[in-house]
Symmetry: C2
Subunit: 380 residues, 2 copies
Amino acid sequence: MLIAGLMTGTSLDGIDVAVCDVDAEGVTLQSFATHPYTEHTLDLVSRALRGEASTVELCDLPFALSADYAAAIPKDVALDAIGIHGQTIWHNPPHSTWQAASGSALATLTGVPVVSDFRAADVAVGGQGAPLVPIFDWLTLHSTEIDRVALNIGGMANITLLPRNAQLETLRAFDTGPGNILIDSAVMQTFGKRYDEGGSIASAGRPLVAMLEHVKGLPFFALEPPKSTGRELFNDAFVTELHRRFLHPSGPSEDFVTTLTELVAWSIADHIHRMQANTEELVCSGGGVHNEYLMQRIAFHLPDVRVVTSDTFGIPADAKEAMCFAYLAWLTLHGIPGNVPTVTGASRRVVLGSISDPRISSVNAPKVSSVSASTLRPRA
Amino acid sequence: MLIAGLMTGTSLDGIDVAVCDVDAEGVTLQSFATHPYTEHTLDLVSRALRGEASTVELCDLPFALSADYAAAIPKDVALDAIGIHGQTIWHNPPHSTWQAASGSALATLTGVPVVSDFRAADVAVGGQGAPLVPIFDWLTLHSTEIDRVALNIGGMANITLLPRNAQLETLRAFDTGPGNILIDSAVMQTFGKRYDEGGSIASAGRPLVAMLEHVKGLPFFALEPPKSTGRELFNDAFVTELHRRFLHPSGPSEDFVTTLTELVAWSIADHIHRMQANTEELVCSGGGVHNEYLMQRIAFHLPDVRVVTSDTFGIPADAKEAMCFAYLAWLTLHGIPGNVPTVTGASRRVVLGSISDPRISSVNAPKVSSVSASTLRPRA
């Protein structure tokens, strides 16, 4: 099946579209592109994420997103399906999770069946609803000979442990903490830039030891997996408070960015040390791989580990999550569970998501206009 | 197919569950019951409707609703599917509409395929996303010999015109304005009661002519169909303002309720006069049929029309909308469009809703644990 996977992450840098050939044997990427949001949609999403959106704006949001998604779908390929993550507005496991998007609107606009809302079913059986990428990591990266870890650095950072002969039934994966989100926020607040290109700002500073030790002490980092986190904890207000508390008014702002970058590197490495000490290879993906300084710091903390990007395995680092949602859509369309209970904490494996199929039946389907309402036939 | 249709309307008086046998020939009601919301859910819904819910509460809302829906589903019948309307939080046609509920969570909790989010697809093709009941009215009430109108009085009131030999392709239906919503609000504000039982309050008062003429002048009433309305226009604030402006401090509060009841009767009758003057029979459903005074006033304004309830046709007046969503679910599961473009203003007929199917494939389905990821097989 030719399936487009669409990912829109917490960093709001665009709509990732990965068109993939998917079958029972695996996933092959056909094309990948990132499309911008319209300004209207970006404004709605930003307001919703800040809790400032009105009821009518929240009503409009999934339709605006789906219109943008429809515009991002390549027109020159005959897709069998589309899998969309949607835009996470809030994540409150194990009670609820909110990925805005209208699968039904997108299906109607494109004429292609859409699978959406992948996290709700896992939450409904007591899971965190996240992470969902591990089944894809397992499919594409598990090995009989190498102890691997798959790492994705998006807004948050998460790892999937893939010791040799890893089994899906016993897989472990979890968020290690913030990915780019705090770095991006700090760079915006102090330098007015959207992100630290190549890590050049962080590489020019020195870590603030007191701040680093303080943040390392957050309970999240010491928690045993499974665990997940999000903007509910790591957000602009968190960065503002750290800045106020730890950066001396005359201190260089670079130091602040360096410290947050070091936090990310430390938290990833620390979890790998704790959870799979014999790791031989770390396979990295997500926007964070473009932060060279961050990647150097991760490698520094893991001297015995070979650090590579997922490109090595035919999975462009920026495309992995979008490819994953193409694969998850394929699973759902085949009635195959996509969650991994050992990862999410769910009580059982469940089929994820909802299917909006816009195709009107033509063969053997009863036509409404020919229905005779015998059971409730009018009396006269 | 045995399908449960679930309706939760704007009046928040409970979860209507209609278990129906549905096939290409028609719909037969097997059982009907109304279940209360839990207090937690009712609180979340009420706060969302007032625009006071926090982001985390809005995140929780669809999961709380689906947990209540799951509890309302009869356990002693083997359902093939469930069709849910969800809880309308906002309706902003032709841009968007918002029916809160998690189809995926409900399907996971019940093990039964769920069809949900019926209005989005129609909105996506330029429709109002409402009303959706007309296709069911047509199926169950159209006749070769009688010029009928189907009326539903819920929070809002809507009619479906069914002249003899009505065709689905040219069907007309629309909201006539408020149903119970203003009466309920007025009775709460002035008498502290949830509704005017049997219309006893309204029957004790006299209409306030100036107020009635003022409200009749609202542009909505004069609009040509297709049209729909909701809490965005007719709400508590609207009632409060009318009360302040038109009821003399020493005037009896009954008069205020009488006037709003008269408005409902007038607006229904006026639209029938204007749109289908030769109507012979009016088939009424919805909670409003229990307001005897209102029904008398409707009959008064339509002296040449036989006024009956839908019970006459095997459709209990309180069960019609829930039965309709069982039927709409059946249409969706068969790939048959459920919207009527002449009614909603949509540019074309579309398949409505999203399907969450929790059933894990057992026959011929590839098992994930046996998938060999040849395409992206790890290199070592």
